[in-house]
Amino acid sequence: MYTFRASVAISRPVITCLLTVFWGVMIGLSPASAQQLTGPDVLTQSTAACVSVTDPPALLKLLVQHPLVQRLQEVPGIRQALTSPQMQPVLTGRNLFQLQMGMPWLEALQAISANGIWIAVDSSDQSVALLIRGRDEQLMQDVRLKLLELTRLTPGGSGKLDTYRDIPVYRLPQGGAAVVGEWLLVVNKNETGRRLLDRLLDLRTADEQSLSALPAWQQAAGARRPQAAAWLWAGMQAIRDKSGHQGVFHNQAENPLVELLFGGLQTVLNRTDWMQAELQVADSELRLTLTTPFSAEWMPEARQWYFGPEAAGQAPAVPQVAGLLGSFGMYRNVSEMWQRAGDLFSEDMNDRMAEAESNLGTVFGGRDFGDEVLGAFGPQLLLVAARQDFSALQTVPEIRLPAFALVLTLRDAETMRPELRRAFQSAIGFFNITGIQEGRPQLDMDMQKSASSELIISRYLPPQRPTTGEAPPVPLIYNFSPTAAFQGDQFVLASTEQLAAELLQAPRQPAAAANVSLDLRASVAGQLVADNQQSLVSQNMLTKGQTREEAEAELTVLQQLIELLRGATFQMKNDSAAKQMQLDVAVQLTTDARNSDAVKETDRGN
């Protein structure tokens, strides 16, 4: 019981009730209350794409303190760039920002974005809106008074201040910026700005127009991982409608290679309601995962070859050869794609493929190229690249390229092996004949057979040394000794005999359970750069006019940057249980110098 001097007695429950009503009214009267709204609540369903960062302070802290950032700053070239005169305006801007906000820049950014950042593109006019929800209203008013006001004063600032519904709006070269309660809004088109300001001022909770009420958004949000540092959502129907179903949505590729790589994805893009991408940041890895609904039933008959039966086709296992630079494997029934050309490609492309089929059929003894030749190979395709070991070679080229190979499975090895052997020999012979006319060195053929394997090898004859004067640098072609190899049902077509032999023998790591799998190893890439240091330095000198010292310094920076990485992977997987498809890109990092050397040793030993 509280007693006022004016002799009015008011009970505690009454006080509590009055206070509750009071605060409720105040909350109701304050625009865009922090307790109720998020960016997707404010944004409307005409949003085509939206990037969300729901915990910017954590992400900022993670990025600033990330081991990669620390190590980048230790790279001399980058350290130099950060203190160069070109960086002065950035540093001056940062210092001014700190001065205005009265706190360190990181703390200020964390406070300004404490409750989320959203960047949205509208499908109706392609306008872009940036919504930031800050720690509190007072802070955001500071942002307005201390930062946005500067736009009126700085050169290039439009200098104009408008108001909209009593809210100050700062005109930018394109669009404008405004602060409403805890919210900072920046847009590049005035119409979008007015629409979102209305919602910020009037909305108390999400309504039927909110993006967050869209089923496609809700499904995507449900599939999102909680640990994602940032999240992109795209409403595919709006994007498709806006594009007029052209470009990537045009359901016909004009190029067999494009169809091979992206045909199935085109179908998915034309069917799915939404796509989302999540960024995950960890000390040793950066990962971007794109997820979309998917059903095997979506694939038309003409594209069944892409994912295979029940969309369950998987890329092959990768042989672990020495110096493996990378591999690219996928499931594709190329024979069926070729035979479906009438459904997949334009008339012009079909004519060209028919001509190619005729010529290629001749090379293979009159066999039908699409059905009998391509059909002789299984649907698992693998392209492998590896660093060459030149120590065993008699002739070492000046520029050292990696070796690469195509690894395939034969459905009927007994029948196809002689055909492929003959076709390879014919191709080498043809190459030699044209080479004579063009003054190219000739390929000499050799064969190695064992109980289980057979290699048909072609090697360039060593260059003749001049009797007088300086010998020219060994040409690029001495990187190659084209080889066809067979073992069981395995067929390898390699640029070098060394790689062909290793691929037949190397152990295979388990397949990735993905339709497409790409893997790159940074340490081997670094070794390739070192192998070709002289050429790269010289090219730098000529293209930039730099001295050798300057060119070597730049190359050293490149090598140091490569050392920060362990590798990169890309996978495309179908999850039939979840009815989703995922495209996953990951960059693995070496967290310190010791790890970097250890990785190099491991990869060399592989």
Partner: protein, 449 residues
């Protein structure tokens, strides 16, 4: 007045005072002609010496061993891909960086004189070997130069003389030896060509090397240019070199390359030098020494009276301002303007002089200079242009203009152009200075050297 002097007197050494001033402008003229240009520091050092001392320094033509090794390494790497185009870029890089610019200027001359095109000789090592040969013998004995270039595989391939059989002697090389290398047009007959061609039968190129095939060599007696006998190819070259016209022809070409585009009364003018050249055993260095230190060279008859070739235009700007750039792009641009290094338009090389300027090349030259100045790869003293000029104490537009005029112009700027340029550079910003430099490069006066 220089125009009143006899030819003999015109070739006497230039004496400062008597024949004119030896100042920064005169030194700049020397470096522009005897190289590609000089910066202020070089000019100020030059005026501390006599003109003849400076010419001797230029003729010293020696590159430090480390530099030569570096260039060899760079060339090897440039051609390691098997393409010849990077070699052209390598040569541009070399011209920009060499401490021996008269040597390099003379190598460009010999390259045009003994024209060999990489469009036909696509093996880069052969082109590099020839380029090195020209550099090695640029200031030496003309006899030796012709003898060696005659057996150069790139030259033989270019002149379709990779195979020369006694049943059908290849007359192309014989004709070019006389017409283009030694004597000039109209100094021989068709019979001379046929007879001379027989001397070179058996000369072959096999696997990129010169080889003498004795089975294909015509050993019968022949007669040409007043000589007869069983003459070998080497003997034949010597016969051609001994013709009196050889000296006249070569002196005339060097005169047009280094001194005057259109020498009036050329025969009279070249006669004393030709005699000196003959008397000296066709040694190139003394000939150049006389030319570059002569009263004629420093007279009004010569100063500002040549048109810059594309190479002189672009590389001259860069050398004067310590410029570096993307030499691959620059080499391609020079080719588009008609002077691709290692890509002469024909076996006659480049005519030079007025042929450098026509309505389309004028526009091309302007575009080239704009690309060069604004390229992100172009730096001056490792700095952007404005910073480079500021580092040299050149802040005001008037000071910048005065410096550029001294370094880059053979003739004074017209007052109207000067006023326009000052107005253009008034703000002193990076863009204004770059625009001002480009505008300078498009002036008619800038095309002269």
């Amino acid at each position: 007045m220089a125009t009143e002097l006899t030819a003999q007197e015109l070739w006497q050494p230039f004496e400062p005072g008597r024949d004119g001033g030896w100042d920064l402008r005169a030194a700049a003229h020397l470096f522009r002609r005897a190289g590609f240009g000089a910066d202020r520091q070089q000019l100020e050092a030059a005026v501390q010496k006599t003109p003849l001392q400076v010419v001797d320094d230029l003729l010293e033509g020696r590159e430090p061993a480390e530099y030569s090794t570096e260039m060899q390494t760079l060339a090897t790497a440039a051609i390691s891909g098997g393409n010849v185009e990077p070699l052209s870029a390598w040569w541009v890089y070399r011209i920009l960086s060499t401490p021996a610019q008269l040597l390099e200027k003379t190598v460009v001359f010999w390259h045009g004189h003994f024209a060999t095109g990489a469009d036909k000789v696509t093996e880069p090592q052969l082109m590099l070997t020839q380029n090195q040969l020209l550099r090695r013998l640029a200031f030496g004995d003309f006899h030796q130069l012709v003898q060696q270039i005659s057996k150069d595989p790139a030259m033989l391939l270019y002149l379709d003389s990779a195979s020369n059989r006694k049943a059908h002697p290849n007359e192309n090389f014989a004709r070019e030896l006389m017409e283009l290398f030694c004597l000039g047009e109209g100094q021989y007959t068709e019979l001379d060509i046929r007879e001379l061609a027989r001397c070179f039968t058996g000369w072959e190129v096999r696997r990129g090397e010169y080889r003498f095939n004795r089975f294909q060599h015509d050993t019968a007696s022949r007669s040409f240019l007043g000589a007869s006998g069983v003459l070998s190819g080497e003997d034949a070259v010597q016969v051609v070199l001994q013709q009196p016209q050889t000296a006249e022809f070569l002196v005339g070409k060097l005169l047009r390359y280094f001194v005057l585009d259109e020498p009036a009364g050329q025969a009279e003018l070249t006669a004393p030098l030709a005699q000196q050249f003959r008397d000296g055993g066709l040694q190139i260095r003394p000939l150049l020494r006389t030319m570059l230190s002569s009263r004629l060279f420093f007279s009004r008859r010569a100063v500002g009276r040549k048109l810059k070739s594309p190479v002189e235009l672009a590389l001259g700007l860069l050398r004067c301002l310590h410029g570096t750039t993307n030499t691959v792009e620059l080499a391609q641009s020079l080719q588009q303007l008609g002077q691709g290094l290692l890509f002469p338009p024909s076996v006659k090389g480049w005519d030079g002089g007025r042929t450098w300027i026509n309505s389309s090349t004028l526009l091309g030259r302007s575009n080239l200079m704009r690309r060069l100045i604004t390229s992100e790869n172009t730096r001056f003293g490792r700095l952007p242009l404005r910073d480079y000029l500021s580092a040299r104490g050149l802040q005001k537009p008037a000071d910048i203009l005065a410096e550029l005029e001294l370094l880059l112009f053979a003739v004074p700027l017209p007052a109207a152009a000067r006023d326009g340029l000052l107005s253009l550079m008034k703000s002193g910003s990076d863009t204004a200075v770059a625009e001002g430099l480009h505008a300078l490069c498009t002036l008619p006066e800038f095309q002269l050297c």
